[in-house]
């Protein structure tokens, strides 16, 4: 089963490079991702057996993140098909300046998309830290090409920053890997496989384990987007095609988070949980605050979404750091944030296609100009800022409750204060875009909303709304299991 998960997208990637016909290639993409989703859902019912001495296994935590990834990928694949057929093959003019630029060939794009899925799946299923690292670096490389889809200066700059910063960060995580090996070298079995490490947690060498965790935190933290390590994130998210931004934000960040959580699991086993939790809380609040600084008055709406990702990454870290019930909240938050953020990025893609600008001030009257996207945009705004009855409210509430139950009044105040500030910042931008008087010249020659660009984000938005009103018992159990795996409940 795990093999199937890995092989389907890999094969599809190879096929995409070989196939010459565009439509066929898109079909392959959809079929591969749908197959992947199918297998993932099957894994819910039937737990897959570990492979290769436990190097590859799908535990609850991995299953949770894998499911998010797979479902989001499926919706994004549909959107991507609509997007690709909309993107002209000719050189198009840049949104910012009037230079002309070509797009990356579609074959490479599709192949990289599939490879992206494959590498992310590898991250989810690998329980060997070495494999985890390899997979993580591979995701960076696969996505670099995707970010550089529009071959213009801005996306090139973003790609370069992404590559360099993430590579350096992940290199540090490699160092963490070696430190982990050193920490584990006192015990007889030295393979750094998660289950083994967890089992013999107390025998690990504490200083080296601490150092390893710090390196993982900083290394994968770069990729995850914890401030102040997140610096590549807004650039890459704003310059990539919206569907890629959506995937980066909705899946890749979770992926990196999983990397940190894996090391956290080991630390928990070695009774270093409080050491890690303090760091999670600090980084969480720092990320939220940092995001608030840039969200207020942010002129570029895609960058605003990117910073919002930094904020929510901070919330995830904070939730894990608080522990207890907040861990469950964090897991739920990961699900909700991914759903909503993808909705928003896809809607942003529609807006960009209609208005040809990323400057929020130049976008007016979405609700009257492209109503369906406008509704998504407003709903997404409400959802992302944690307004009930959307799911994010639930997860944030759970986290706040845990914070207050533990008596961290200061943390709670900071948390809610930053959320309020971000709400104000986002409200100003989003509402002015959605409402406002429509400008006729922009509205005349726009593409109308097509089904392929509306249904995917809309379905995710509805899913997020549903999660705010009804938490299916299966999901709830999975979330609890995942939270238990990382020391919460």
């Amino acid at each position: 089963m795990i093999l199937a998960l890995l092989l389907i997208p890999t094969l599809a990637a190879v096929l995409s490079l070989l196939v010459r016909h565009d439509v066929l290639r898109r079909m392959i993409l959809i079929i591969a991702v749908a197959g992947h989703t199918g297998v993932t859902l099957a894994a819910w019912i039937h737990e897959p057996a570990p492979l290769h001495n436990g190097w590859f296994a799908l535990d609850k935590l991995g299953l949770l993140f894998l499911t998010i990834t797979s479902i989001l990928f499926l919706t994004c694949a549909f959107y991507a098909v609509g997007y690709l057929s909309g993107e002209s093959r000719r050189k198009t003019s840049d949104a910012g300046d009037d230079t002309l630029f070509p797009n990356t060939p579609e074959a490479i794009f599709c192949a990289c998309l599939n490879a992206f899925l494959a590498t992310m799946t590898l991250v989810m299923v690998s329980h060997h830290f070495g494999v985890l690292w390899v997979a993580m670096e591979a995701t960076t490389l696969a996505t670099a090409t995707l970010i550089y889809f529009h071959r213009n200066r801005h996306s090139l700059e973003a790609t370069w920053k992404y590559l360099l910063i993430c590579s350096v960060g992940i290199a540090l995580a490699l160092l963490g890997n070696y430190f982990l090996v050193i920490a584990a070298s006192t015990s007889e079995k030295t393979a750094i496989i998660l289950s083994d490490l967890v089992r013999q947690g107390h025998t690990l060498n504490a200083p080296w384990l601490k150092a390893a965790f710090l390196l993982f935190l900083v290394g994968y933290g770069v990729k995850m987007g914890l401030a102040p390590l997140h610096t590549w994130l807004p650039d890459a998210h704003s310059e990539a095609p919206s569907v890629i931004s959506a995937l980066l934000s909705g899946t890749l960040l979770n992926c990196a988070f999983l990397g940190i959580l894996r090391s956290y699991q080991v630390c928990c086993a070695a009774e270093l949980a409080s050491f890690c939790q303090e760091l999670f809380v600090i980084f969480g609040l720092l990320s939220m605050g940092w995001a608030a600084v840039y969200i207020l008055g942010q002129p570029d709406y895609k960058r605003m979404l990117a910073y919002s990702s930094v904020e929510h990454i901070g919330i995830l870290a904070l939730g894990v750091g608080i522990g207890a019930g907040a861990t469950f909240g964090a897991m739920l938050h990961a699900v909700n944030h991914s759903l909503v953020k993808v909705t928003l990025f896809l809607a942003a893609g529609n807006i960009l296609a209609a208005y040809k600008t990323k400057t929020a001030a130049n976008v007016k009257g979405l609700l009257s100009c492209i109503p369906a996207t406008g509704v998504l945009w407003v709903a997404g705004f409400l959802a992302i800022t944690g307004v009930p009855p959307f799911g994010i409210f639930l997860s944030e509430f759970t986290i706040v409750k845990a914070i207050l139950d533990q008596g961290h009044m200061g943390v709670a105040i900071a948390f809610l204060g930053i959320l309020a500030l971000i709400f104000i910042g986002m409200a100003m931008t989003f509402l002015n875009m959605a409402q406002g008087r429509r400008s006729e010249e922009l509205c005349i020659n726009h593409k109308t909303d097509s089904i392929l660009t509306i249904i995917p984000p809309a379905s995710l938005g509805i899913l997020s709304l549903m999660l705010g009103l009804y938490l299916p018992p299966m999901l709830s159990r999975l979330l609890h299991d995942a939270a238990t795996a990382i020391g919460g409940f």
């Binding site: 670099a144 200066r153 360099l164 160092l175 070298s185 807004p234």
Partner: protein, 206 residues
């Protein structure tokens, strides 16, 4: 060991890109030899083959890619780095002291390896980071990344016994692809901007 230190210091003081690449190549070769040294020259086949792969990649392939890239570029020198070459050397000495202290603080448990390995690895890592931070040319930054990676794989060399070979190969493959992709990116940067000064790549901010 001492050689590695000297190589790092050289990197900090050099301005010609081509020389820098060569120096990194030398470092790569040394790194390839390192597992053999650390394991007492035991001629085990997988060790030797592993060394050969490292030497091949880091000593030959990477420099070749970069040199190839350099031919297409106009610039051959690192001009006006953020931190001057002399200062860089001084900083290098400071870093060396810090890493020695650090190595002393965190003793390697249970290995009989030379006590110098960890500090030197740290020093190499710091040199790599320092190169990335203080230099402007994109190419130098790739070099810095390579040095960083070399430093990290010093640890790999210590632990070559404990790390499965597949993983090591996977890591190498990743690094290879990374350098390759970065090379492509630099190529594109050069084409788009007519230079590879990263301090001009600041359109995306706040």
């Amino acid at each position: 060991m001492i050689l590695l230190v000297l190589v790092n210091l050289m990197l900090l003081g050099l301005s010609r890109l081509r020389t820098c690449i060569r120096v990194v190549a030398i470092q790569g070769v040394m790194l390839g030899v390192l597992p053999l040294i650390l394991n007492g020259w035991r001629p085990e086949p997988h060790l030797i083959s592993f060394s050969l792969v490292i030497i091949g990649l880091k000593g030959i392939v990477f420099p070749a890619i970069l040199i190839k890239l350099l031919r297409d570029l106009k610039e051959h020198r690192e001009v006006e780095p953020f931190i001057g070459f002399g200062t860089s050397m001084a900083a290098g000495v400071v870093m060396l002291v810090v890493s020695l202290a650090f190595g002393a603080h965190l003793p390697l448990p249970g290995t009989a390896a030379s006590s110098l390995v960890a500090p030197v690895a740290f020093f190499t890592i710091m040199t790599g980071l320092f190169l990335i931070i203080s230099r402007k040319k994109a190419l130098t930054q790739v070099l810095g990344y390579l040095v960083l990676e070399n430093g990290i794989s010093c640890f790999g060399a210590i632990l070559v016994e404990k790390q499965p070979t597949q993983i090591e190969l996977g890591i190498l493959l990743d690094v290879f692809v990374a350098v390759f992709v970065m090379g492509i990116a630099i190529f594109h940067i050069n084409r788009e901007f007519d230079h590879i000064d990263t301090d001009k790549l600041t359109r995306l901010r706040t």
